[in-house]
Amino acid sequence: MNSNVGIDSMFPLPAQIRKVVWETEDTFTLLLEPDNGGSDFHFSPGQFNMLYAFGIGESAISISSDPSNKDNIAHTIHRVGSVTSVFSQLEKGDVIGLRGPFGNGWPVEKAKGKDVCIVTGGIGLAPLRPVLYSIFNNRKEYGKIFLLYGARSPLDLLYRVELEKWGKMKDVTVQVIVDRCDTSWKGHIGVVTKLFSYIKLNTANTIAMICGPEIMMKFTIQELSQRGVPPEQIYISMERNMKCGIGLCGHCQCGPKFVCKDGPVFALPQISQFLEKKEI
């Protein structure tokens, strides 16, 4: 890949905020226009950028936009720490730093000719939205699409308008489930794996892509395995503390893998041996 990229990879480039979209009370999407010196910003679904708040620090954020849209690079951000809190206060026209894209993405090529089952929880939908865009841009090349999405509550659902739109598309099944709600919610309540009861997977010809909290991914893997999806057809995106994004700082190791460089997306057999262990 970038076989001569040196420490310059640690230098953020200015990126201007074109738009801020609040998705939920504490989650927002920044549409960024990176100053790439005129060259296009290319990324694959599942890759991430390191976003820099001037003088404060960096946060690894997945890219959540359509890879074919080179002008607006979206990052959906959960406000949880000091850096993301700074981002949450920014407006259109403000500038942050961006370096990337880093990591290996989802198997969108390998999934061609197959059904795709996307299982996500919480903010985990963000890194999978580019997969959906890519599929819809080349719709004929894919079979049935299932999107199973779990969230904390109906108010925590991301991309609500799009979810509704996708759900109406031919051969696309969107199922949403929440952990808790009041009586105004007419949808499913429970854990995301429950949604498998309501769909029919052609397990031999399905590529599953999972992203969410590690515990949620674990029980989704169990469910998929029980239903007969072979491990090599299951992909997950891992989260770890990342400082450099280029496999040099050592922070993001999971067993022998550097999550930033070897992942964040892994085929299950690459990582399952370590996923089952506590505190790896």
Binding site: P14, F54, I56, V80, N241
Partner: protein
């Protein structure tokens, strides 16, 4: 076959002077504050003449040898990594420019033109340390990204290796196949001999730069008996080594024992002080610190050494992947001896024994491996099939 040359000990200063003439800044062992450190030295008299060190688990002591040997000690607590991979490096400074900012890449050490970095000549690099440098060469060029801070320094360095003529109390380089004699990876390698025949160095040149240097230093071609004397010293050193580590299937052993009860046992002793990672010549983890001045207009990014033993190392918002000391010790040792092999095709351990000497509670990596073997090793957790798949994917 490499030719063996001989330098008389009294000529050693000419080696210093010649290196200086070639524009090198010399770094070598010197006695300071009760230990032997690596620092700038000017001449052979700056070396730890007549000193040796006694090392054992959690213990280090300097002692007089009773002779005039220059390299009669075993190993400094420091390793050369602090010169090739400095503990703190400024990556850039940046200034606000309206709403945007500008990176001043020319102000940071990382981007200092190669020409303005000092040309280091390392004198007294032990064979295990050469192996450590070879390992860091791989670590800092991971096939996708290159750490140019390291690369720029490494490319310019001149290495004077000194083979080991005695074994330290915590050494186990023989097990790690990294000593007590260096076969390559140096510009010149010395073996110091003091016997009835006098005090001299047997020299091998390992590079063109090494040959060039030797042409400036008065020397003779070493005689057969002198070469044999030097070889005998190195062989005796190998035999003296009383620590060892069985590295056969060590990766499989550790992967199979991720849930060994022994990690709990280590955790009762380990203080997670991170000493082992600081003294280890191959440990490479860093963190990034972003700072501003009081006005908030000027920012800097620094990279500094970090350790997998710190509480913050694997912290993410809302949690910590390795909050227990058990998990952190396991990470360090399993990485060093097992996953390192998957990552870089080599063990991360060179058998220098520093982690044993400088552990305040004397945890001995060679003993811990033995105990894991005794207690666990049934391998019920190890999934051979998964490992095979991992390998296949790596090949792509």
């Amino acid at each position: 076959m490499k030719s063996h040359l001989k330098i008389e000990s009294r000529q050693l200063n000419i080696l210093f002077d010649s290196l200086k003439d070639l524009g090198y800044t010399i770094v070598g062992p010197t006695v300071r504050e009760g230990s032997i450190v690596y620092d700038n030295i000017d001449s052979a008299s700056g070396l730890p003449v007549g000193w040796t060190d006694e090392q054992s688990a959690a213990a280090y002591k300097l002692k007089r040898r009773g002779d005039n040997s220059y390299f009669g000690y075993n190993l400094s607590p420091y390793s050369w990594k602090r010169f090739l991979f400095p503990p703190r490096v400024k990556l850039f400074s940046a200034a606000k420019k309206g709403k945007s900012f500008k990176i001043n890449s020319d102000s940071g050490n990382a981007s200092v033109p190669i020409m303005s970095l000092p040309n280091y000549a390392f004198i007294g690099v032990r064979p295990c340390e050469i192996q450590a440098i070879k390992i860091q060469d791989k670590v800092f060029n991971n096939w996708q990204y290159i750490d140019t801070v390291y690369k720029n320094r490494k490319e310019k360095v001149f290495i004077v290796a000194v083979n080991c003529t005695q074994a330290g109390g915590t050494c186990f380089c023989v097990s790690m196949n990294s000593g007590p004699k260096a076969d390559n990876g140096f510009d010149i390698a010395l073996t110091e001999v003091i016997d009835k025949g006098g005090h001299y160095f047997i020299v091998e040149a390992g590079s063109e730069k090494g040959n060039e240097l030797m042409s400036k230093i008065p020397h003779t071609v070493a005689g057969q008996s002198e070469i044999e004397n030097a070889n005998r010293l190195v062989q005796t050193t190998a035999r003296q080594m009383n620590k060892s580590m069985d590295t056969k299937d060590i990766k499989e052993l550790l992967y199979a024992n991720l849930e060994s009860r022994h990690w709990d046992d280590v955790a009762t002793r380990c203080l997670t002080c991170a000493n082992c990672t600081m003294v280890c010549p191959t440990c490479f983890c860093t963190t990034v610190e972003d700072v501003t001045d009081l006005t908030g207009e000027n920012a800097e990014r620094w990279k500094r050494w970090d350790s997998c033993f710190t509480m913050d190392f694997a912290r993410v918002f809302g949690g910590n992947f390795r909050s227990s000391s058990r998990a952190r010790y396991r990470q360090w040792m399993t990485h060093k001896l097992a996953s390192w092999i998957d990552q870089f095709g080599t063990s991360g351990c060179v058998g220098c024994g520093r982690c044993i000497t400088w552990c305040p509670v004397g945890i001995d990596i060679t003993e811990e491996i033995e105990k894991i073997k005794e207690k666990g090793g049934k391998g019920e957790y190890f999934n051979h099939k998964d490992t095979k798949v991992t390998k296949e994917i790596k090949k792509d």
